[in-house]
Symmetry: D2
Subunit: 351 residues, 4 copies
């Protein structure tokens, strides 16, 4: 058994990590860390979870190195930055779910994460962990930075165009729609149920740092493949799951048939990315409700001939494939386990 | 009192017309028509409405001309086309809420409404009724075609750019998000509560006829002002209200300050369009929940300098400003009433 | 015009009072008071409202007596108690929406409102304002205490049995179900959208002070008419509207037909209470969605012969008939206006 | 591997059975049956599920006996009755999720299931499958009738009082609240999202056949333990999960402490029933969101001293512990597998 610790156990991503690790055949939960709720048991903070009552939330010190083989940081970016520095050479593997180490380009990092001082020594050691795209780098990776929830969907949606087909994407306009769990549990009046229910909240209409992250990663992976990439993000009236719509303008000619084939080919063998036809089921897909609770990312690509664009839709559960599930997937690869170990749960639909 | 009739009384737009007309100080509801539910009373079909029990749904014949000064057609486009032909010269005013007469350009009409044979004689007599943009044409207009719900929001959002500022919009990408009431009451498994709740349903990912309608109208109003306009439409997990996001690329340079001023100037004196700053209240706006039940359309314009685009957001209640409310507003102008007569209700929030 | 002031303008009931008063033909909003958000304009706090920008939130002093004919207190009970003492003999009418003066029996008051010191001098001057039941006391009433939202529904549901039919209700079990707006805007993790959406929250399973209030009022109105009355309250997954189910056991024999007739007779002439048959429309009623945004209380009475009980269901909008709407209704009667003045809006459904 | 077949594969319970069986370590899905959608693949009908594409929906004949060790009937009661007769002596185990064989008392059966002719020969062979209460009868049971979703919750909630403590429950009033998935996928206007969202629908205000089922089972298990049991059922505004509130009046005296201990003792060793304290977590429990997607039934018992009653609350996922999960749990016991095999998934919360 691989011994796993979670820091940030009281938040939503922390709870989801507990859910997945306690269901995992090869991981064992041995440490829960946090800076608040010290002494609390997980079931007090996460009302649904069944968990052995012995574990309680504890402060994080370097001594946790004795307790864990891997530590998942579900902490705010500044905290993750500090903890990574503390634990980097003491713990065999760190999987950071925050944005602290996502953006590699220094000036981009500083711009989008002004409160997280960049640590050049550490930053370059982190692998940007979209398992489908960097699978060969994950075995033995000591430091893994998980992409953002939106960034995961956008990147998995666009990669077949740039990395697979080699298209040059002149302009990409991303419209992201997310449920309320994407905002965490911070107490804000706008996030109380009366105001958040029924909303279409344009909370980031002119930019989102996940877009910068996608540009940074795809640009490094294939220089010149993306011209401009802009994004707007909206909160809609459900709890879990997001959809990203990437509207792509390219000068390269391509047919719907070629697109579909390229996507199928690109994700062949990657069980967590499902390339789906828009009308293959009784609801239009991709729709995040069809991946709820699972580690799937459903992707659909459509040529809009009249609009002169390619429409790429990607849906995932922001707490699973967009956070805790992808973290476990990366850890699986890190430790040589089956990629899908502990992640075989089917989507829960309807819910 | 202006005597008003409604055809299509059993649907959602029909119910909303009943709501507004029974609250209107100068309109009197004198006829309810339909092809089904003959003999039913409105309260059986619309569980909330209080209405004098004398009115029941009746078949439509040319004799209704004796009963009404204005008839609102809340009927499917093919039915509206037939009824307009039947009633056009018998009733002083017809307000059609369907798409039968929205698109003026014949080939565009035939493409998007292939099942609605175009009647050239009638088509050219219809005024495309966005009151804010065609106010001078509405007095004495005998035939009024109401824009679609999305089209209203998109058009009100873009008009200050094209008609006000005279910009040339090279590329416009529209992302529309709507609640479930936009789909009416047709029985479809995908629209049952278990499947529609929690959904982000990409139901029209590569095109929507409301986009064609916007292009047709704005193109006629100011030839050359719009290059390409593409649209994708999504159903999200609430009932009433929509938001359109128009991502605009233009070669013309303009500042946020100029944009804001231009929008305020363009809608000065138009009480139903509220030009709002994104952060002026405790939730980000525009958000359809802030216009719920009212005839307002809230519009926000933002320069995304880094993205090289203008972001125009417009929110409205699809059954009010996107349908019944705008219909009443147009009828008010048609009959010389105050534009806001019967439409002064405040938004209902939270709900 | 009657000049109206609102204290507690930043809360949900305060916002609803603004909505209703700004739509009212005979009331004029002349003062907004509060202890926080001083200087704020209502539209900042209530994102949907249109309101003249001159009014801002101000501290309450006795000087407001010059500005208002009636003041609505949408404040916590301890604040209402203090403000009532301050303003009682200075302002022609006070309508208190809190629980400060609802329970007349001293020991009951002290038990359920231990933090609100009972002021015997004031308490006995307050009229308990269910307009349908105390209409004759409201003209010229200087001090009006509005019932709680649940209490309004329960009382209107039971009154025809006790006050109308004279039954003795041996045991009444009340199950109350409310949307999230009933909880106000206090910041609590459990009320954030992710946790409140999808919930059936048994927040008051063994008692609720609204039950005490009902027992106190009905007991005073007709001594001995109610044996035991217990209540459990639940938060369910919508925003606005509540339903109370009163399961009534009585030794008196009565038929469904007699019950229906008695309810119709009892509420004859009271337009805001609609006695409805369970299956009279396409959804089962009463359902709070069928009264949304309106001042209606829909009531249905059913004899459950096999269960040996009478089932009384009552639905209302907790912010309208359960708070601001009933407050305006009471003020209308106080000032000799038409009871329905400013309250003729139809329900908004679907929403 | 135990070979499992599902009949009624296109419905919600059928989909949930597919979800659970495809995740089960010891069950193998070998047959999908139905009377509609013949030839369809499960993923077309259940948009989220990943499943080997070889299986398609097929008509049911007696030949399926060669393909399955156990068949789950997720079919309407009349269909289940016919299929049980067809397959009873051909298939080693039948688990029927319908109401066809739930009520043992003939006259009660005929009254609540008038369209399902009682087959005396078969009826007496069926075990009423609440595993926690009849565990010793399930090994080798050839015919298992699963309780209804409400009945499961009510029975698990009351059993510690009657079977454990031996109390005599003079009067029990049950109030059941369920999400929309309880109504299945039948096309009804009232169940379209616009009308079902935001509803508190009193769909069975004066009785529900699940109450008859509970009375029948508990009455047989302990004659005289329940006097009158009445029920009202409501649809509330979420999708999955139900809560039953049983308000119990008894002449027997008991303390909160004794109740709590009795419940803990009664369910000791039964991992799927969690006896929880009302305030043990940051939301009040039991709440169905805290068991979502899992096979847990959370139960809380509270003495309401002032109300003179015991309040028993029970929450479960109507598609899991209320249907497919309990079916798998019963099959596990039938075939000597671990009771929790395939059912160890944690609740998904928030969702």
């Amino acid at each position: 058994m691989i011994r796993a610790g979670i820091v940030g156990a009281s938040g939503l991503a922390g709870g989801e990590l507990i859910r997945l690790i306690t269901q995992h055949p090869d991981l064992e939960l041995t440490f829960l860390g946090g800076s608040s709720h010290i002494g609390s048991r997980p079931a007090e903070l996460h009302p649904g979870l069944r968990i052995d009552p012995g574990l309680t939330v504890q402060p994080v010190t370097e001594d946790i190195a004795d307790l864990v083989d891997v530590v998942f940081l579900a902490t705010p970016a500044p905290v993750s930055a500090d903890l990574a520095a503390l634990l980097a050479d003491r713990v065999p593997a760190i999987v950071d779910l925050s944005g602290a180490f996502r953006i590699r380009t220094p000036e981009l990092h500083d711009r989008w994460y002004p409160k997280v001082k960049r640590r050049a020594d550490l930053a370059d050691r982190f692998v940007y962990g979209v398992p489908e795209l960097v699978a060969e780098q994950l075995p033995d990776a000591a430091l893994i930075s998980l992409p953002g929830c939106y960034a995961t969907a956008i990147t998995l949606g666009l990669a077949p165009l740039t990395l697979g087909l080699g298209l040059e994407l002149r302009t990409v306009v991303v419209d992201g729609k997310s449920g309320s769990s994407g905002g965490g549990l911070t107490l804000r009046t706008a996030d109380l149920h009366p105001f958040r229910s029924g909303a279409i909240a344009p909370y980031a209409p002119t930019g989102h740092r996940h877009a910068a992250e996608v540009g940074d990663f795809l640009g490094r992976s294939k220089p010149g493949s993306i011209g401009s990439l802009s994004m707007s993000a909206y909160g809609v009236s459900h709890v879990r799951g997001l959809l990203t719509s990437s509207y792509v303008f390219t000068n390269d000619a391509i047919s719907q048939r070629e697109l579909q084939r390229a996507y199928l080919r690109f994700y062949k063998g990657h069980r967590f990315v499902r390339v789906r036809r828009h009308a293959e089921t009784l609801i239009p897909v991709p729709d995040p409700q069809a991946v709820l609770g699972s580690n799937f990312c459903d992707v659909t690509v459509l040529l809009d001939e009249e609009g002169g664009r390619i429409v790429v839709l990607a849906a995932l559960d922001n707490l699973v494939k967009g956070a805790a599930g992808q973290a476990v997937q990366a850890a699986n690869l890190r430790f040589g386990l089956a990629e899908e170990a502990g992640l075989t749960m089917q989507p829960l639909m309807p819910a």
